[in-house]
C-alpha cells in the first residue's frame, strides 16, 4: 500500500544566461528560480497493482519516484509506504523495494554480473538459500544464463537491462519502481522485459510503478495510468476509461482511385499521399457513416478502415488538453 498525501517539493535552480561574461557574473551573484517539481501530489496504490506513470519530460515523474523510494525528502506532505515514511525509516523501507533506473546502471562495470549479484546479496543480507533460488529463477525467466559470467561492460543494452531488473529483484521486494525500463531497447528486448514484468506482477503480486514514454509499455502492462504535468496529477484512471473519454475522435484511413476531397465539417484531413488519405473524425459533429457517405460522393473508395485513437495519440491529446 502506497499513499501520498499533498506532497510538495520545490527545487532552487541557479540560472544564468549563456556566455563567458554571464558565467563570471554568476560566480559572484546568482539568480535563483524556484521550480516547483511536485505540487500537492496525492494518490494511492494498492498492493499488487500495476500503475503507469506518464507525463512529459520534467513533469515530476522521477521526483515522485524518488520521494516514494526515500531518496528525496519532500518539503511538505505525507508519504506512507507499507506503514513507513520512506525518508524517515529509510533502511527499513528500502528492504522492501526494488528500483530500476533505466538510464543508470547498478551493475559493476568491470566484473562479471554474478559478482555484482553477490555483492547485492551481502548488502541486503539475503539468506543464501533464498539467494540461490532467486538467482536460478530470474536466470531462467530472463534467460541470463550466458550473461552472468560476462562483465557488465560487454553486455548489450537489452542484456544489461535484463540483468538490472534481475539485480533489483534479488531481495524479493514487494514493490518495484521502474524508471523508464525500456528506454533504448530493441523490440525483442522490450517485449521480453514487458512479459517478465507482467508475469512478476501476476504471480508474485508485486506492486509495480512504472514511468515511461513508451505508450506500448503502458498499453501492454498497466491497467491504471497516472498523468502528471508541471508537477500536478492531472488524471488518474484506467486506460480503457481514458480511451472511452477520448473516443469521440476516430481515425479513418481511406484508399481511393479517383476524385478530390471536399472540405467537410467535423472531418479533418491529417495526411494524404499517393491515393491514400487519413482523416480524424469528430463523432459529435458527424457520425462515422455520415462522414464516409459524404466522402464517397466525391471519390471512389477502394479500401477503408476505422480505428479508435492509439494510446500514443491519447497522450498527445491529453498533453494538449492540459496544455503541458
Amino acid at each position: 500500500m502506497i499513499e501520498l498525501r499533498h506532497v510538495n517539493k520545490t527545487f532552487r535552480v541557479a540560472k544564468r544566461n549563456a556566455g563567458m561574461k554571464e558565467a563570471l557574473k554568476a560566480l559572484v551573484f546568482r539568480e535563483y528560480t524556484q521550480v516547483q517539481a511536485l505540487r500537492d501530489i496525492s494518490f494511492s496504490v494498492a498492493d499488487g497493482e500495476m500503475v503507469g506513470y506518464i507525463g512529459p519530460n520534467g513533469a515530476g515523474k522521477s521526483s515522485t519516484i524518488k520521494v516514494m523510494s526515500g531518496i528525496l525528502t519532500p518539503d511538505s506532505g505525507e508519504c506512507c509506504v507499507d506503514g513507513l515514511t520512506p525518508w524517515k525509516s529509510r533502511k527499513q523501507h528500502v528492504r522492501n523495494i526494488g528500483v530500476v533506473f533505466g538510464q543508470r546502471s547498478q551493475l559493476w562495470w568491470d566484473v562479471p554480473v554474478i559478482d555484482s549479484f553477490e555483492l547485492l546479496r551481502d548488502i541486503y543480507s539475503i539468506p543464501s538459500s533464498a539467494y540461490r533460488r532467486n538467482v536460478d529463477e530470474l536466470t531462467e525467466l530472463l534467460s541470463l544464463s550466458e550473461l552472468l559470467r560476462t562483465p557488465a561492460r560487454q553486455l548489450s543494452l537489452g542484456q544489461r537491462m535484463r540483468c538490472e531488473i534481475a539485480a533489483s529483484l534479488l531481495h524479493d521486494p514487494g514493490i518495484l519502481f521502474l524508471d523508464e525500463p525500456t528506454i533504448g531497447l530493441d523490440a525483442v528486448s522490450k517485449i521480453a522485459v514487458r512479459k517478465f514484468i507482467k508475469a512478476r506482477n501476476r504471480e508474485r503480486k508485486t506492486t509495480v510503478i512504472l514511468t515511461t514514454h513508451d505508450m506500448q509499455d503502458i498499453e501492454a502492462l498497466t491497467e491504471r495510468i497516472l498523468l502528471i504535468g508541471r508537477g500536478q496529477i492531472l488524471l488518474d484512471g484506467s486506460l480503457s476509461q481514458l480511451k472511452q473519454r477520448n473516443s469521440r475522435t476516430k481515425k479513418l484511413n481511406i484508399s481511393y482511385s479517383t476524385g478530390t476531397f471536399q472540405p467537410l465539417e467535423g472531418v479533418q484531413l491529417v495526411a494524404e499521399f499517393g491515393g491514400h488519405a487519413e482523416f480524424l473524425i469528430d463523432t459529435e459533429v458527424i457520425g462515422v457513416s455520415g462522414a464516409i457517405q459524404s466522402l464517397a460522393q466525391n471519390i471512389e473508395i477502394t479500401d477503408l478502415s476505422v480505428e479508435g485513437a492509439s494510446a500514443e495519440e491519447l497522450v498527445v491529446s491529453l498533453y494538449k488538453e492540459f496544455a503541458i
Binding site: 520534467g58 527499513q92 528500483v99 533506473f101 543508470r104 547498478q106 559478482d115 551481502d122
Partner: protein, 258 residues
C-alpha cells in the same frame, strides 16, 4: 565491516581487469611524489636545518604526512570523488540500499593505485627513522603510528567536509583542495617554520599541526609535555565533527535529474 571487505574485494577485482594501467598508475604515483622528497633534499642540502629541525627530522615529517595522505586518499576516495558520485546518480542508488550511507560511500571508491604513494612513504620512513637520532622508548614508538593514523583521520575529515559541501552546491568546490593538497605540501616541513599565524591556523582550524608539529616535538625530545604526545588523539576528533557536518548535508540532498 564484512561488507566493506566485500567492497574491497570487488574493487580489487575491478582494478585488476586493467593490470597495465594499474601498475603504470602505481609507478606514476611513486615517481611523482618523489618531487616532494627531492625538494626537501635540495633545500636541506643547502640550509642543513629548517626552523631548528634537522634533515632526517624533516624527512620523518614528510613520511608521516605522505603516508597519512595516501591512506586517506586510498580508502576515503569516495568522499573525495563525491561530486561525481552525486552527479552520476550513484548516490541515489546508495539511498535505496538498506545500509549505512557512509559505509556505502566509502565502498564506492577504493583506489589501490594510491599504493604508489604509500610505498614511497614507507621508503622514506625506512630511510628517515634510523637516521632521525630519536632515542626510542615505548611511548615514542607508539606515537609514530598514532601520528600517521591521526593524520589520515584529519585528511579523511577534510574530504568529508568537501563532500558535505557538495550537498549544498552539487558541483565540487575545488577550494577545499587548498587544505587537502595544500595541507600536504605545507606539512612537508614542521609547521612552526611558517610562523605563528600559520601554525595557529593548522592547530585550531585544520588540525594538521596536531598530528605533525606537536608530536614531533615530543618525539625528538624537544618537549616532555604529555599534551604534545596526545595531540594526535585530539586531532582524531576532527573526523566525527566532519561526519556530523556530512549528516547535516545529507538532509539537504536534492538528487539530480535523470
Amino acid at each position: 565491516m564484512k561488507l566493506y571487505l566485500k567492497y574491497v574485494a570487488m574493487h580489487l577485482r575491478s582494478q585488476m581487469q586493467y593490470k597495465t594501467s594499474f601498475f603504470l598508475t602505481v609507478a606514476g604515483q611513486f615517481i611523482s611524489s618523489f618531487s616532494a622528497l627531492l625538494g626537501v633534499y635540495f633545500l636541506m642540502d643547502r640550509f642543513h636545518q629548517a626552523g631548528g629541525f634537522s634533515y632526517s627530522e624533516v624527512l620523518l615529517c614528510l613520511a608521516v604526512i605522505l603516508m597519512a595522505f595516501s591512506l586517506a586518499e586510498c580508502f576515503v576516495r569516495g568522499f573525495d570523488a563525491f561530486s561525481a558520485i552525486i552527479a552520476n546518480g550513484e548516490f541515489d542508488r546508495i539511498m535505496v540500499r538498506p545500509r549505512n550511507e557512509i559505509l556505502q560511500v566509502l565502498g564506492a571508491r577504493i583506489e589501490f593505485s594510491r599504493m604508489g604513494r604509500l610505498l614511497q612513504a614507507l621508503c622514506v620512513f625506512a630511510y628517515a627513522v634510523p637516521r632521525s637520532g630519536i632515542s626510542w622508548n615505548a611511548a615514542r614508538a607508539c606515537l609514530l603510528p598514532l601520528m600517521v593514523v591521526a593524520g589520515a583521520f584529519v585528511f579523511a575529515g577534510l574530504f568529508i567536509i568537501y563532500a558535505a559541501l557538495c550537498f549544498f552546491t552539487t558541483e565540487g568546490l575545488e577550494f577545499i583542495n587548498i587544505f587537502t593538497d595544500g595541507g600536504r605540501e605545507f606539512c612537508t616541513y614542521p609547521l612552526s617554520i611558517y610562523g605563528e599565524r600559520i601554525l595557529k591556523f593548522f592547530t585550531c582550524i585544520v588540525p594538521l599541526a596536531l598530528v605533525q608539529y606537536y608530536p614531533l616535538l615530543y618525539l625528538t625530545g624537544r618537549s616532555e609535555n604529555w599534551q604534545h604526545a596526545l595531540a594526535p588523539a585530539a586531532a582524531c576528533l576532527f573526523l566525527p565533527l566532519s561526519l556530523l557536518l556530512w549528516r547535516v548535508g545529507l538532509r539537504h540532498y536534492k538528487s539530480t535529474g535523470s
